[in-house]
Structure formats: C-alpha cells, structure tokens
C-alpha cells in the first residue's frame, strides 16, 4: 500500500519537478552570466516597471501639472506658471485666519482635516483598544462579537455614508426615535458641530473593526505566563495593563496609529456621501477640496488641484517618516533592553 501511495505521489509531483527543473536551468545560466547583483535586478525589474508606470510616472506627471495653469487637460496645452499655484495656495495675510488666505477653502479644508485627524485617530485608537481588550476576554459569544465588530469594515464607504445619512437626516431614524420618546428632533447634518462629530463618529464606526483586529492579534501573542505571574504577585489590573499589555502591544499600536493617521488624512468617501462637505464648509476635507476643484467644478482647475494634492502628499510623507523614526527608536530600545 505504501509503495502504491509513494508511486501515486511521485506521479502527481512529477510535472512540478519537471517544471522546476525547466525553470531552474535557464535561471542558473542567467545567474552565472549576470552575477548575484544582476539577478536581484532581474527579479526586481517587473515590480519596478509596474511601480514606475503606475505610481512614479503619475506622480511626476502630477508634479508637472502643478506647475501649469489653464483649463485644458493635456500638459502640452497648458501654460507653464512655475510655482504660481503653490503660491496661490499658500498666500495668507494671517495664517490663523483662513478668510485672509487667497485660496480660503484650501485652508479651511486643511484646518478641518487636521482637527479630524487628531480627533478621529485618538478616538479610533482608544475604541479599537477597548474593543480588542474586551474581545480578548473569555466572554459569551466571543466569535459572534468579533464578527459583529468587523462587519462594518466589509461595507463600501458609500453604503456607510448612506446608512448614516438615513439615520441622521431630518426625517431619519434618530429623529423618529427621539420623537417616540417625546424629545425634540434635531437637524444633525445642518448643525456644524454635530455634522463634524458625525463625520468623526461614522468614520470610527466604519473602521474600528479592522484596527481592533490588529490589536487583538497583538494581545493574543503576549505570553500568558506573564499575566499568571502578575496574578500570583497580586498586581492590580490597571498596573498589569500599563506594565505588561501596553508595552508588549506597542508595535501593533504603532501600526494602528500610523495606518489610522494615513487613512484619516485621506478621508473622503463616507463623509462626502454623509454631509457633502457641509454645512457650509464644516466637513470639507482636503481630498474633497481637491476633488471639487479638479473634477467636480464645471470650470476645472487641474493645476491647483495637483498642487494641493502634492502638498497633501508631502504631509503624508512627513507622517510616514515620523512613524519610521519612532519604530526604529522602539526597535533599538527593545534591543538594548
């Protein structure tokens, strides 16, 4: 029987072995000819080609656009104006007052985005942490609750925006519920404070499952014996969290913060569907500003939109560099300890 199984296995794997040999031979020949460095370039080439074509080239084109003016779409038809678009975006008489800026709505969008990032990322991190800590405990129906928290992540942002608009609009579910309990309804989405709060809250609701999952994975990787030892020593739960859980969860937490930061800076879809950027410009964020002037306005301004997107991209690069620096410092600290 064992012999039959061995033969069957050999027959099944034979084509793969032949294929491997067929690939192996020319690769070895190539390695002999090109050397180890040459082989690295050979394997990197397809990726670099795709990266270059779909990431690097559009980036270069975008930079080129940001130095031009006019309504024409194609670069050769556009007028070169140097840094004029950047100047227009960055000129203010008083940088604390967007109204004093030449391109006031860019500064309003920038201020809104900064506030959104601070509030949303802080809230997201806390809620994700609490969710992960609860889901890590031996609670009843743990798998069910894990799925429940993750479900919103699977929804399209447009669906998320629509669902919450149906809840929050004047004749929406929330006001119907308030009326049922004898309270006055409120027009949430035309109130500047509540519209902004809704943008933050909905965004946290939609994405918290993903970040909680990352933290949950980190929590489960913490050795149980550390907690057992702490319990035997009679350590208080708060101290256990600060001294064991948080330090060991730090790499996951850092990933969560950085991913949430990048996502928050790019916020657009669900908020655009939910509030349209209103009331007024209360929830107008940078990405929507770029979309409005580059695509939605009847007289489009691709040069200004490109310049704004380059500035936004620069902010993201800075954030990523900070994250890398912090990660390296943590890693070095970990090695020293």
């Amino acid at each position: 029987m064992a012999e039959v199984m061995r033969k069957a296995g050999a027959m099944l794997t034979a084509p793969f072995a032949w294929a491997a040999a067929a690939i192996d031979r020319p690769l070895r020949a190539l390695q002999n000819a090109a050397g180890t460095n040459g082989m690295a370039a050979f394997f990197l080439a397809p990726n670099m080609l795709i990266f270059g074509l779909f990431v690097l080239l559009p980036l270069v084109i975008n930079i080129a656009y940001s130095t031009t003016a006019g309504t024409a779409l194609f670069l050769p038809d556009r007028t070169f104006v140097g840094a004029e678009q950047y100047q227009r975006l960055l000129t203010c008489t008083d940088y604390t007052d967007p109204k004093s800026c030449l391109e006031d709505q860019f500064w309003i969008a920038l201020r809104n985005t900064a506030l959104f990032v601070v509030l949303q990322v802080s809230l997201m991190t806390v809620v994700a942490m609490v969710t992960a800590l609860i889901l890590n405990r031996e609670i009843m129906g743990r798998s069910f609750w894990r799925a429940v928290f993750f479900f919103p992540v699977l929804l399209s942002p447009v669906v998320v925006g629509l669902i919450w608009r149906w809840i929050l609009q004047r004749d929406g579910l929330l006001n119907a519920a308030l009326l049922q309990v004898g309270l006055e309804p409120h027009v949430w989405l035309t109130d500047r404070f509540w519209a902004f709060a809704a943008a933050v809250g909905v965004s946290v609701w939609a994405h918290v499952g993903f970040y909680a999952l990352i933290l949950l994975a980190g929590l489960q990787a913490i050795p149980k014996d550390l907690y057992e030892a702490a319990e035997m020593d009679g350590t208080r739960p708060g101290r256990v969290f600060w001294r064991i859980t948080l330090p060991l969860l730090m790499p996951n937490l850092l990933v969560v913060i950085v991913l949430a930061l990048i996502r928050a800076v790019q916020i657009f879809d669900e908020v655009f569907v939910l509030t349209g950027g209103g009331p007024g410009t209360s929830t107008l964020f940078l990405t929507q500003y770029i979309y409005e002037i580059g695509f939605a306005s009847l007289l489009k301004n691709p040069g200004l939109a490109s310049a704004a997107s380059i500035l936004m991209g620069s902010v993201l690069v800075v954030l990523t560099l900070i994250q890398l620096a912090v990660a390296r410092r943590n890693e070095a600290k970990g090695r020293r300890e």
Binding site: A69, G70, T71, A72, L73, F74, K99, D104, Q105, Q169, R170, D171, V187, L189, T190, R192, T275, G276, G277, G278, P279, G280, T281, S282, T283, L284, Q288, E292, F295, A296, S297, L298, L299, K300, N301
Partner: protein, 422 residues
C-alpha cells in the same frame, strides 16, 4: 517568427474590435430628468428599424456623469458620438459642426436657430446640435397644503416676499419643516436675482461685479433660511458648487412651495400622482419684473466621433418635426422647434389637468423673461458666476461668513475663474 507575427496581429485585431467603435456605431450619452430616456429609446428603435446599417447605442447615465465625466473624456479627445448636455457654452469647443453632415441646414436654422449661440463658441457659425427642450425656471405650489391651511395662493403678479409669507403661513399651520425651497444651483437663483434688477454681464461682455439687484435677492434668501422658511438642508448640506435639487421634499409634501423649473413637470406628475394637487406658478416678482431664466438640454454631436455622417443621420432623425413633436408630447417638455411652436398643435400625452395647466403657465411665463436673464444662456461666463454664487451664499447660510465678505469673495472667485480659463 511568421507564426508569432500572425498571433500578435490576431490579438491586436481582437483588442481593437473590442475597444474601438466600428463604422456605423453611434453612441449617445443620455441623462434623464423624467421619462425622456424611455421615450428616446422608443424613437431610436424606430430609427434602427429603418436604418439597419447604423447601430445606435444609448448609454443612459446619471446627470452627474454628464457634468463631471464627459468634460474629462472630451478633453482627452474621447467620449460618445452624441451627448445630451446642459453645460452648453463652456465646453462648446468639443461639439461637432454638423453643417456638412445634416441633410438640410436651412431647416435646422429656421427651427432651432434661436438657440444655436447657446451651444457654440463665441463668434462661431457652427450648427452643433439642437435643444431637446427649452426649460424655464419657475415655481410649484402644493395647492392641497395651501387649502388645508386656509391660505389663498398668491396672485399672478405676487412678489417673492408675498409668496414666502404665504408659504410660511402654510408651514406654520401644517407643521412643515420649511415653507419653501429653491434648488441648490446658481442658475436657479439667477432668474429671481434678475427680477430684483441684477445684471451679471458688464459692458465689455465680461462678468460684472455683484450688484444691488443680486444682493437684494441673495439677502432675502439668506434671511429666509435663517428664519427657517427656506429649507436649510438643500443649500447648507453640501460644500462647493455641488448641485442639489429639492424635488423630493416637494414630492413628499415637506414644503408648500418649490422653485425649480419646467423640466420637473413630468417628474412631479409621475411621483406625486394623486397624493395632492399642485400648480405651476411661474416666477414670483421682484422690483424689476417677474423673470425666470431660460435654459435647457441640448443634444450635441461630439467632435471626436469617427462616424460624423452617421451622427448627422441620427441627429437629422431626432430633429425631424414629427419625431421631435412626439418626443415633446410624451416627455411634457417645452419645445424649441419654432415651426412646431408656430403651429401650436401640440397634444401633450397626459390626462392630468395639472400638467396641462403647468405647461400653459410656463408658456405664459416665457413672456416675462427680462433681457438680463435672456442674455445669460448664451453667455460664456454664466457657469463660473453660478458656481461662485452657490459656493459663497451656502457659506453665509451656514454662518461661516457675512454677506459683505461673500460679495467680495464672489467677485474674486469669478475673476480667478475668468483668468484661469484663458
């Protein structure tokens, strides 16, 4: 090697066949406000039966696609062969001159010539398309709500103030969330602004600074919004120049008065049905007149078509008097065809007295268009003007800036856009 070349050629041919339009294909990008998509589909089916060599493909899309995506396709030298558009002048450089491709340019000139300037670049003599309908901005009142509130409908020469006050009484009596609404659109508030004496066009043809007439109406609109008479959501729940209609609020009887335009008639009739009685009111009056603003959607040929002759055949068919008459009668639109207007034998396909009365009202209201409003559809800078108005007035309504600041910003925004468009 020969074999490899053959394979490559076959692949290239296959790819070309799946992406490029074949000779005889005419692709139409079409959006609908009401039932016109279904009507044009019927009409085109008949064309296809009589012209089997032309393959007409009707792409029905959302209005937003025509507004946002078509201009980008056109800038790339791509797009459909024919499109139904409302942004007629700003991107007119992309329209095809149909003159050599249509059978009888004199027929087109005689019947559709009044609006040719709306859809061609300044100074051009091209025939680029025809208006599928003429529209006129105007109001609709929920007659049932007025009656239930015991408030009489204001008379034919009633002012905006009178209409809003009457609607506010209905709002109070019927516990409505707002008295009235105007679509979030610069076009929509421009007729009323002209009624208060506004003139957007300076002596040199460039945009004039915001004047007393425009300020008079905009100040009222802001005040009415702050007082809860004008439905706040429509203008405030969006940023930039995003278009937002209030038709659903009127259809759901959430407002007593709705200012939009004649193109809503079929939509209101279909969706309101027998739920309540409604009437078209024309445009309320200001200090200078009772003007609405004309406009409409045109069917235009696209310059980048590979089949201009077939485009000409399709356009000739749809512009034909009998075909156009059927389109107008079934869609309940106001016609642009002068011969048809002169004959006056339109038999709108509806049993609804409300629709017939509404159409009649709009025909009457077209006599009240003031010269400053009449000039706007063919004016190159109307679009930037409308965009700036919506953007800044919404900010004032949301409490982000004062009216005085808004006037300065509107002037600057328009000046920027004019400079940018050079």
């Amino acid at each position: 090697m020969k074999r490899v070349n053959s394979i490559l050629a076959a692949v290239a041919f296959g790819l070309a066949a799946t992406t490029a339009a074949s000779a005889g294909d005419v692709r139409i990008m079409w959006y609908s406000d009401g039932v016109e998509g279904a009507v044009v589909k019927d009409l085109l089916a008949r064309f296809s039966k009589d012209n089997p060599d032309v393959n007409v493909i009707l792409d029905e899309v959302a209005y937003k696609v025509v507004q946002e995506q078509l201009p980008i396709q056109l800038e790339a030298g791509q797009g459909p062969d024919i499109a139904r558009v409302t942004n007629l002048k700003t991107i007119a450089q992309h329209w095809l001159d149909l003159t050599p491709h249509i059978k009888d340019p004199a027929y087109w000139q005689a019947n559709y010539g009044n609006e040719f300037d709306w859809m061609r670049p300044d100074g051009s003599k091209a025939i680029t398309g025809f208006m599928t309908q003429i529209t006129l901005t105007g109001g609709f009142a929920n007659k049932t709500l007025f009656e239930q509130a015991g408030v009489p409908l204001p008379g034919p020469k009633a002012t905006w103030d009178e209409w809003v006050e009457a609607a506010a009484k209905v709002q109070k009596s019927q516990k409505l969330p707002a008295a009235f609404a105007i679509d979030r659109s610069g076009h929509r508030i421009s007729g009323p602004a002209v009624s208060y004496g506004a003139n957007y066009i300076a002596a040199d043809g460039k945009p004039a600074p915001v004047d007393a007439g425009l300020k008079a109406f905009a100040e009222r609109l802001v005040k009415w919004t702050a007082e809860g008479k004008h439905m706040k959501e429509v203008w405030v729940s969006a940023a930039g120049s995003t278009y937002r209609a209030a038709a659903e609020d009127f259809i759901n009887a959430q407002i007593a008065y709705y200012y939009s335009g004649s193109w809503q008639i079929a939509n209101l009739q279909t969706k309101i049905g027998n739920n309540f009685d409604w009437v078209a009111t024309g445009s309320p009056c200001g200090t200078a007149g009772c003007s609405g603003l004309a406009g409409g959607a045109a069917l235009v040929g696209i310059k980048y078509t590979k089949n201009p002759k077939d485009v000409g055949r399709v356009m000739d068919y749809l512009a034909r008097e009998d075909v156009y008459k059927e389109f107008i009668e079934r869609t309940l639109f106001l016609p642009a065809h002068r011969g048809l207007i002169a004959k006056g034998n339109l038999d709108f396909k509806t049993d609804s007295a409300a629709v017939k009365a509404a159409l009649q009202k709009y025909v009457q209201a077209s006599q009240d268009i003031l010269p400053a409003a009449g000039a706007l559809p063919a004016w190159k800078w109307a679009t930037p003007y409308y965009g700036a108005l919506v953007n800044r007035i919404s900010q004032v309504m949301a409490g982000e800036m004062k009216l005085d600041e808004a006037w300065a910003r509107i002037d600057k925004d328009i000046a920027d856009q004019v400079a940018q468009a050079k």
